[in-house]
Symmetry: C2
Subunit: 125 residues, 2 copies
Amino acid sequence: MMKHAYDVYSDRCPTRQVLTRIADKWALLILDLLRAGPHRFSALHRRIHGISHKVLSQTLKKLERDGLVSRTAFPTVPVTVEYALTPLGTSLTGAVSAVAHWAESNMDAVAEAQRDYDARQDSGG
Amino acid sequence: MMKHAYDVYSDRCPTRQVLTRIADKWALLILDLLRAGPHRFSALHRRIHGISHKVLSQTLKKLERDGLVSRTAFPTVPVTVEYALTPLGTSLTGAVSAVAHWAESNMDAVAEAQRDYDARQDSGG
DNA sequence: CCGTATCCGCGAGGATACTG
DNA sequence: CAGTATCCTCGCGGATACGG
């Protein structure tokens, strides 16, 4: 029973573009952050260490276009903007956060694997 | 109660490197494929449409170094090589597959969101 | 505060060819 | 079949500056 005809393994399938967008360091971190609630642009920028102004803006725009994130501007002065998850975006955050958290939870095991691997290389393994 | 001192939001934290590696289109597809069982190099190459020989090789090497994937060479002629998930790798595939599958399951909603967004741009929204 | 435009360096990654 | 090396391009993404 086919639920959909999409195939992310295919070069031509539009799902590949979507995957490219969400299989991205910055997008993952943004989506994970928004899980806790709406955030302002500057708040996201402050929390996500290392992302540039421009790339944060670009990434948010793409996520908004894909319907994962909503953007709300309040007519204050200067303008206040809030980004939040849409229901569609929320449906992805479980998986996204799991990936992000995995890195933290398994860092020790990864580091050990790297040491083993490198040692094997040194000894001509 | 802190379970670990790692913070993926920090630029300097080693988890950021790990995230960078797994938050990657090709790595996600490889890990998802290996979920079904061991695969040979050429099989992976055939299934993952659009990946180059070189990048597949590089990505596998990194995943192997991080302890997510194991590499087994059989002394046939020509040599046969099998890639498989390690237990560590298996612990990540749930989240990884969820992300990959999400793209397929929600493609229609994403496409609709894109149409809406683009229409709003055209009408000077 | 938020966003976009411009410039530009750098490295990911594709094509190709060669080794084992 | 599996893997590496070389070359080269192309666009991501950082810095900066300016507009709203």
